[in-house]
């Protein structure tokens, strides 16, 4: 990926920053020029919840280019505690341990890299919530 394209999304990917629609109260992620639900253009930056619940999940066995090193990996549809839905990998879990309803939390991980000389791309992934045993 080009450096400018990666750089542009850093804040949103690193810190899970979305937008709050001042009209209908929806939380929008990723950011948009106008609310995809009500069309309002008055949007304020807001931080998404970092915890959520797995709604559905799959295991990617055959990845697209750039993700081979990491396969197989779990991708899940997650409903965050603030009601937003997000698509993300789920890590630190065996596919056999995955289930609908699993509680997960955001973490910061490598997503891919542009060969051995290009930039390293980081971003959010989720993992089962770490709790005291």
């Amino acid at each position: 990926m080009s450096a400018p394209r990666y750089w542009r999304e850093i804040k949103y990917r690193y810190r899970l920053i979305g937008e709050l629609c001042t009209e209908c109260g929806s939380i929008i992620f990723p950011r948009r020029r106008l609310c995809p639900h009500c069309g309002c253009r008055e949007l304020e930056e807001c931080k998404l919840s970092e915890r959520g619940t797995v709604l559905s999940w799959t295991v990617i066995q055959h990845p697209p280019k750039g993700y081979e090193k990491y396969a197989p990996y779990v991708v899940a549809l997650i409903r965050l505690d603030d009601g937003t839905q997000i698509l993300s990998q789920v890590v630190d879990v065996e596919p056999e341990e995955m289930r609908v309803g699993l509680r997960v939390e955001a973490t910061f991980r490598r997503v891919r890299e542009d060969g051995s000389s290009g930039i390293i791309e980081y971003g959010y992934k989720f993992r089962p919530v770490i709790e005291e045993p």
Partner: protein, 348 residues
């Protein structure tokens, strides 16, 4: 010469992170023969983890415990010897990930296993001089172990972050003084394009580890007028089990003093994370009034010694929810082949 600050400095928050993968020492013996040390197993980063991601985890926990606004952090220093980029600081990525940018100074430190405490020294200086309100020092590593080398048993991944600020009743522990003891001693090194380090085997003992730790510890204690009996706990750099136990004994510390911080048997040597995580594990159990001696060691070589005194705020401010022991207990085992894959030893 003891390094004393013009104004007292304390720790307002800290956090540690150890990846969940473990490789048993017996697995390494199975593949390469040889004898496993008293080390049982070591922590191994996942394929999508590196020194930066570990540093970010630690930093986030530290900020949460400190209950501060990350925008008020004026400096972020990451000490590591496994920088993902040779040129581009981990510090900037961490700063962005925690929301401290753009009004911050950030950089990386390298001094082998004492890079983390190097960062401590710099942060303490910036804070006590009044240049910044909060400064965060992180020691984090995903160092590489050369296959079939004895060090492969111990090289591990992990880190801890400490946020320093002027001492107040909110700080968890304050610094009485520090002492750095540095010489040019080539006991362990890694050249620029090499994946694995090299070391001088037994040369890494007396002339290196022991000389510098003892030099720094004795120097600090003499200048502060303390003996081992004045310290409740001591944290020494732990490249293996034998060295910290031996140096503790030589300096007059009993096993009780070093036990809380001695995590190497369970997670291995986390390099720049080693002493910081040891300190975190000790703070997890320390009580107000306890004095803690912390002495790191970095090959090349040098030691930073610190004397911290625990304050009342430790009761509320320590991570009751996620102490170091939680990360030690949280594990899944890899076999040697998965470990090789996770650590990028298999070239695709």
């Amino acid at each position: 010469m003891v390094l004393k600050t013009s104004r007292p400095v304390g720790i307002i928050g800290y956090g540690a992170y150890i990846p969940m993968n473990r490789l048993k020492a017996s697995e390494i013996s199975r593949v390469w023969g040889g004898c496993a040390e008293p080390i049982e197993e070591k922590a191994v980063a996942s394929i999508d983890e590196d020194a930066v991601t570990i540093a970010v985890e630690c930093a986030r926990y530290a900020i949460k415990r400190a209950k501060i606004d990350p925008r008020e952090i004026g400096a972020i220093y990451v000490g590591t010897e496994s920088k993902p980029y040779a040129v581009k600081p981990c510090g900037t990525i961490v700063a962005e990930a925690i929301g401290a940018t753009p009004q911050v100074t950030a950089a990386d430190y390298e001094f082998a296993c004492k890079a983390g405490t190097e960062a401590f020294q710099a942060c303490i200086g910036l804070v006590s001089s009044g240049m910044v309100k909060y400064a965060m020092a992180i020691g984090a590593d995903t160092a590489q172990g050369r296959p079939a080398d004895p060090l492969e048993y111990t090289v591990a991944c992990g880190g801890a972050a400490f946020i320093f600020t002027l001492k107040s009743n909110k700080t968890l522990a304050y610094l009485e003084g520090s002492y750095s003891y540095v010489t040019d001693t080539p006991d362990f090194w890694r050249r620029g394009l090499e994946m694995y380090p090299r070391h001088g085997s037994r040369f890494t003992g007396e002339p290196a580890y022991f000389r510098h730790i003892i030099g720094a510890a004795k120097g600090l204690m003499a200048e502060l007028g303390y003996g081992p009996q004045d310290f409740k706990y001591a944290v020494f750099h732990q490249p293996n089990v034998k060295f910290p136990v031996k140096v503790a004994k030589r300096l007059g510390f009993g096993m009780d003093a070093i036990k809380p911080g001695l995590i190497v048997p369970y997670v291995g040597n986390t390099y720049a994370g080693s002493t910081p995580i040891g300190l975190a594990a000790t703070l997890d159990v320390a009580e107000p009034g306890d004095r803690i001696l912390v002495v790191s060691y970095g090959s090349g070589a040098g030691s930073d010694a610190f004397s911290f005194v625990v304050q009342d705020a430790i009761i509320e401010g320590r991570p009751r929810d996620l102490p170091v022991s939680t990360f030690i207990a949280r594990k899944r085992y890899l076999d040697y082949s998965l470990y090789s894959r996770m650590r990028g030893k298999i070239h695709l």
